[in-house]
């Protein structure tokens, strides 16, 4: 038998087997940890933010193969983005970049989006001046 069959596509398998950005960040500027209500799995994303930009990102995941791959991909995608850009990050971007996930596994990518947003919220909470600036800027951008 020469063929190898895999549960997920090659991109997902690659990110599962060789996850990018796995670990924690010392002195992270924002940390988000969330759980999936559907299956009970847990994901944590840590961010290093400099000049309003995500300079570095790390993840840790207790979850299935697609949850690990989703967190790996999500941390890859958001590096270099501004906070505003990252705020609109959606799980669909992870799904697309991974070349698709099985329907029952879409919620694993949602977990990645939620962990990222929780990390950003944590950052904003630690920097109240950002919220004020955003509020002041609102009429202009609207």
């Amino acid at each position: 038998m020469s063929d190898t069959y895999t549960l997920y596509n090659p991109t997902v398998m690659d990110h599962f087997m060789n996850p990018r950005n796995m670990g924690d960040l010392r002195d992270a500027d924002g940390v988000g940890e969330v759980g999936a209500a559907a299956c009970g799995d847990i994901m944590k994303i840590s961010l290093k933010i400099r000049d309003g930009k995500i300079e570095d990102a790390r993840f840790k995941t207790f979850g299935c193969g697609s949850a690990i791959a989703s967190s790996s991909m999500a941390t890859e995608l958001i590096k270099g983005r501004t906070i505003e850009e990252a705020m609109t990050f959606s799980n669909q971007e992870v799904v697309n970049a991974l070349g698709g996930l099985p329907p029952v596994k879409i919620h694993c990518s949602v977990l990645a989006e939620e962990a990222l947003k929780a990390a950003l919220e944590d950052y904003v909470k630690r920097h109240p001046e950002l919220a004020e600036r955003a509020a002041a800027a609102e009429p202009v951008s609207a």
Binding site: M22, G35, C39, G40, D41, T61, F62, C64, G65
Partner: protein
């Protein structure tokens, strides 16, 4: 890479002698057993022989008590619905254990939607049914008690002989699902006092596509498939002769080899669990310890702080084929109902792996699995926020509590805003 197949609960390779016996029934002896000419009569003979081989495996009195179906699921459906419908006038109540196979559970749920009621008898933490509870659950309306011989998930051997006595006293037929035991443990339908017994030859090196239902002549049952009068009118549909022939050969071999297969897998089972429990901290065996209360082919473990699907995938990439009861591997995103029934903590159910042994596994295979699994656990724990939080003292272990830190479940509920499960 070494290949270690540890999913014999799902399928086994076909015995070469069974395959040889089947071969002519595809191309030469292709007759239909219902036909009245030479072609039909020849396969009728083969069918009779296979019935005898099945009867011998389970010590049935006569081959006339053996029905062939398409698989174990159909046998369970026929046993439950067939008896329920046949005895509708007597009553519409069923009794099952909390850890039956889905083919039993879902057949019962189907009947519940049509007005039947069912009592699910709890099991203890090792999965053994509560016999007093079973006895108490039987009412004058009860038409069937269903209890498996060996649990498909955690390998617990049920006290079927005692259950049989309770049922005999109450005058209620007992159905024993022997899917996980046939070929691996001796089965004597008369000793069990069973009115019905089902099993699948593909669990003991027979082909897929055939299931067996034993029915004691005194048990009333109606057909749930309607058509011709095959199988004494209890199961319409053309018999799958090649599979039935192969199944008969497999049953004969299993009856002969069972003591050796059992002794061999018992040695492997012990070696595997000894190795895993020695080399991996925070690992738990679900179900009874290897010995008289557990089938020799099953190891069901929970490794703390990591999830089961990742373990399964990494095992597969290392040539090791296993199964898992984690919610992440199920399409319904629910953990195995057996693990819930034994009261296993959600965190441990998520880290579940099911390894089922066969006659061709070796001791070197077991050592390879232990060695490889140590690396897999290290890799996944290195990625797990739970492991890190455990090491920092934020959460506690369920398996070996240190007495400080939140439980995993409390922690999961806190971060997801909802309780796990």
């Amino acid at each position: 890479m070494r290949q270690v197949y540890l999913d014999h609960q799902s399928a086994t390779p076909l015995l070469p002698e069974a395959f040889e016996a089947m071969r002519p029934y595809f191309t030469e002896y292709y007759g239909n057993a219902s036909s009245l000419h030479q072609h039909g009569l020849r396969v009728r003979d083969a069918l009779k022989k296979a019935r005898q081989q099945m009867a011998a495996l389970i010590h049935a009195e006569s081959e006339d008590e053996i029905f062939f179906t398409s698989d174990g699921t159909e046998s369970a459906n026929l046993a439950i619905k067939g008896v329920a419908y046949a005895n509708e006038r007597k009553g519409k109540h069923l009794v099952i254990s909390a850890t039956e196979h889905p083919s039993v559970v879902n057949s019962v749920e189907f009947l519940e939607k049509q007005g039947w009621t069912c009592t699910r008898v709890p099991v203890d933490r090792e999965g053994r049914v509560d016999l007093k509870g079973l006895e108490a659950a039987i009412t004058p309306q009860t038409v069937l008690v269903a209890l498996h011989h060996v649990n498909h998930d955690i390998g617990t051997i049920q006290p079927v002989v005692e259950a049989g006595k309770i049922c005999a006293k109450a005058g209620v037929p007992l159905y024993v699902d022997c899917e996980a035991s046939a070929g691996w443990l001796p089965i004597d339908v008369r000793e069990f006092g069973a009115a019905l017994v089902s099993f699948s030859p593909h669990r003991f090196y027979g082909p897929k596509g055939v299931g067996v239902l034993y029915r004691n002549k005194r048990a009333r049952i109606v057909s749930i498939l309607h058509g011709g009068v095959q199988e004494g009118g209890r199961r319409a549909g053309t018999e799958n002769i090649p599979a039935i022939v192969g199944a008969g050969v497999a049953a004969e071999v299993a009856a002969r080899e069972l003591p050796q297969w059992r002794a061999h897998t018992a040695v492997l089972q012990k070696r595997l669990w000894d190795g895993l429990s020695r080399d991996i901290p925070f690992i738990k065996l679900n179900g009874p310890i290897p010995g008289p209360d557990r089938v020799s082919t099953n190891i069901n473990i929970s490794t703390e702080f990591i999830e089961g699907e990742g373990q399964l995938l990494l095992c597969d990439l290392n040539g090791i084929a296993v199964a898992s009861g984690s919610s992440c591997v199920s399409k319904s995103l629910k953990i195995s109902h057996v693990l819930s029934a034994i009261g296993l903590d959600h965190a441990l159910a998520q880290g579940n792996l099911i390894l089922t042994l066969g006659k061709d596994n070796t001791e070197a295979d077991m050592d390879y699995v232990v060695e490889t699994f140590v690396r897999i656990v290290d890799k996944l724990r290195g990625m797990s926020p739970m492991w890190e939080e455990f090491e920092r003292g934020v959460i506690d272990s369920v398996i070996a509590p240190r007495g400080f830190g939140k439980s995993f479940s409390e922690h999961a509920a806190a971060v997801s805003g909802k309780a796990a499960h």
